[in-house]
């Protein structure tokens, strides 16, 4: 009985840690999509950059991949954020002036290319074999690491929330809702969008680094890239896009649901166990459609100032004009 309990507790710690990491990434997406309306579906790419940077910076020297710089945990996080931000800057340079669909296609393209490079260029991250032995900071105890992750999540939440309430955040919202109006007010749209895109991508890189230290291993196929992106989108939309509390809540709720579906598919007869992940993806896909149709504003809708029309009603007016 006590073994079960400790098993349950360690499963709980595992669940919470990953949920908190997803919470960080969900907050990052909220900066880009919820606050600014930038459609990034290359989350997995920035996540992978962060994870690999952490691995290369913190592992001991190794001939099988780049670096092994043996630097501390904090340095890994810094480099992860810096490199993700730099890549985002170049992606933004090419695409942020284009229509939103193009940004979507470009981001998914970049994330595919990142995956291809990591898979085929052995010198960077040891190719498909990946990089192992990424240590947790302070102690190998998962409880300590959970505390570290929760601390990072809290710090990210307060930083992003502060940004949202600042004049900068208000400009972003204005840009999202009424681009022409904000442009007329003399704001440089491109610069603000770039800042939001880079900031969000840096936080995605941070999430990737946290993930690498938790699992201890990174490889191009360690997590299904498209799926990681998709899950984060479901989290943000379910939680309430535009609302930072919603972003974090969505991450925890959807992660629990997602993990719960695993318990469900584990009940399947042995012949179908290999199909379990497909069934889980199916369920989550259906869940997203239900949310979009039934509660598109999410669990915690965005708090809007009362002035100005909602995007929905202004879109209608446009249609009819």
């Amino acid at each position: 009985m006590s073994i079960d309990l400790s098993g349950l507790a360690s499963y709980g710690v595992f669940l919470l840690t990953l949920a908190a990491i997803y919470g960080v990434v969900s907050l990052a997406l909220n900066v880009q999509w919820g606050m600014t309306g930038l459609f990034n579906i290359g989350i997995a790419g920035f996540y992978a950059i962060g994870a690999y940077c952490a691995a290369i910076v913190t592992t001991p020297p190794s001939p099988s991949h780049l670096g092994g710089l043996g630097l501390p945990f904090g340095a890994g996080l810094m480099v992860a954020m810096a490199v993700s931000g730099l890549v985002a800057f170049f992606v933004g340079l090419l695409t942020l002036k284009l229509r939103e669909d193009y940004l979507a296609i470009a981001t998914i393209g970049i994330s595919e290319i990142i995956r291809l490079v990591l898979k085929n260029e052995d010198w960077i991250g040891n190719g498909v074999r990946g990089i192992a032995g990424i240590a947790r900071p302070l102690s190998a105890n998962p409880l300590v690491y959970l505390a570290v992750v929760l601390l990072v999540l809290a710090a990210t939440y307060f930083a992003v929330e502060r940004a949202r309430k600042s004049p900068w955040g208000r400009v972003l919202r204005a840009l999202r809702e009424n681009e022409l109006g904000a442009q007329a007010a003399g704001k440089n749209i491109y610069r603000f969008r770039m800042e939001a895109f880079v900031l969000g991508s840096m936080i995605m890189g941070l999430g990737g680094a946290l993930y690498a230290h938790f699992i201890g291993f990174v490889s191009p196929e360690a997590f299904e890239p498209v799926f990681a992106t998709f899950l984060v989108w479901v989290m943000l939309i379910a939680g309430g896009s535009g609302n930072n509390k919603g972003a974090v809540l969505g991450a925890f709720v959807i992660w629990v649901v997602w993990s719960g579906t695993e318990l469900l598919t584990n009940q399947l007869p042995a012949d179908y166990v290999t199909q379990g992940s497909a069934l889980r993806v199916l369920l989550i896909g259906v869940l997203l459609q239900v949310i979009l149709l039934r509660r598109p504003e999410g669990l915690l809708p965005e708090e809007r100032p009362h002035v100005g029309a909602s995007p929905a009603s202004s879109a209608e007016a446009e249609d009819e004009a």
């Binding site: 579906i41 695409t95 669909d101 291809l116 498209v226 879109a315």
Partner: protein, 288 residues
């Protein structure tokens, strides 16, 4: 790498280009009318290919007979997705539709995997002897793909220029508001556009499976080059999609002369990005 090798790559490029063209025409038609990029298009390809595969494997029918079945399946699933989900989201921003189609892509892919399993499948058992033309080789499948694409593209052209529904689609794509005040039943045209786009995607999927193999991921992997082709041709312009498809197809195959083949999708993407920066309205794109 001599001239023969390059020509051989160009032939492969035209074959790949045919497949991409069929996919890109559908994406472009849908974009022209609904103003959103359909991320489920690749997985409709997969579904069409597997539907045709089911006919081939259970009835032992030839592939050319299974092709229409796959196309009908692609059309039906696209229309069903529209009626169940997209139709209700059309009043919101196009980006919400895009997210929804992303989810739809995963739903369709999981269903394919649940029904047919995760393993690779193939239309053709064994290896058909390629035909030799001088030093160049072409497999019978590749000729089928090329011929099939030509027939389908001509049929689509006739549909768009000669039939009432086809012209209504072009009218909707040109100017949605004017189409409505002209009395065109927008909902009906949208349903037919989904059907046509889905059927074309399915045909592309069958051809892709003929050229390579069937896997649940096959369509999703082709989606990026297809978007690249559609963007290159000027999104929303079905005729541009043909040019775009061929350029991306040939460029991807030719890139293997200097880059590892694994980077084929990256080549398509690079061509697209250069295009977006240099000429954002597409090769044939005049400003509307």
């Amino acid at each position: 790498m001599d001239v023969t090798d390059l020509l051989q790559l160009a032939i492969y490029g035209v074959v790949l280009g045919s497949i991409l063209t069929l996919g890109a025409i559908g994406v472009s038609l849908l974009f022209g009318i609904l103003r959103f990029s359909n991320f489920a298009h690749g997985d409709i390809m997969t579904l069409g290919a597997y539907a045709a595969f089911a006919v081939v494997s259970t009835l032992h029918a030839p592939v050319w007979l299974a092709l229409p079945v796959g196309m009908i399946a692609g059309a039906l699933v696209s229309v069903a997705a529209d009626q169940l989900v997209y139709r209700r989201l059309r009043r919101t921003q196009p980006v919400i539709l895009l997210i929804s189609s992303f989810g739809m892509a995963l739903i369709i892919r999981s269903l394919v995997q649940l029904v047919w399993g995760p393993q690779d499948r193939s239309f053709v058992k064994g290896i058909d002897m390629p035909m030799h033309f001088g030093d160049l080789m072409v497999s019978p499948q590749q000729l089928w793909i090329l011929g099939g694409t030509i027939v389908i593209v001509i049929a689509v052209h006739l549909f768009l220029t000669r039939t009432r529904m086809g012209k209504a689609m072009r009218a909707m794509s040109d100017n949605m508001d004017l189409a409505r005040v002209t009395g065109i039943d927008a909902e009906k045209v949208i349903v037919w556009t989904w059907a046509l786009g889905g059927a074309l995607a399915a045909a592309a999927g069958v051809f892709l499976a003929l050229d390579t193999r069937l896997t649940p991921m096959m369509g999703w992997s082709a989606l990026l080059p297809i978007f690249a082709a559609a963007i290159l041709g000027g999104f929303g312009k079905p005729y541009g999609a043909i040019v775009g498809g061929m350029i991306i197809g040939v460029a991807s195959e030719m890139s293997t002369a200097v880059l590892p083949p694994a980077y084929k999708p990256a080549t398509a993407f690079a061509v697209m990005v250069i295009m977006l920066v240099v000429k954002p309205n597409g090769l044939l794109g005049a400003r509307r």
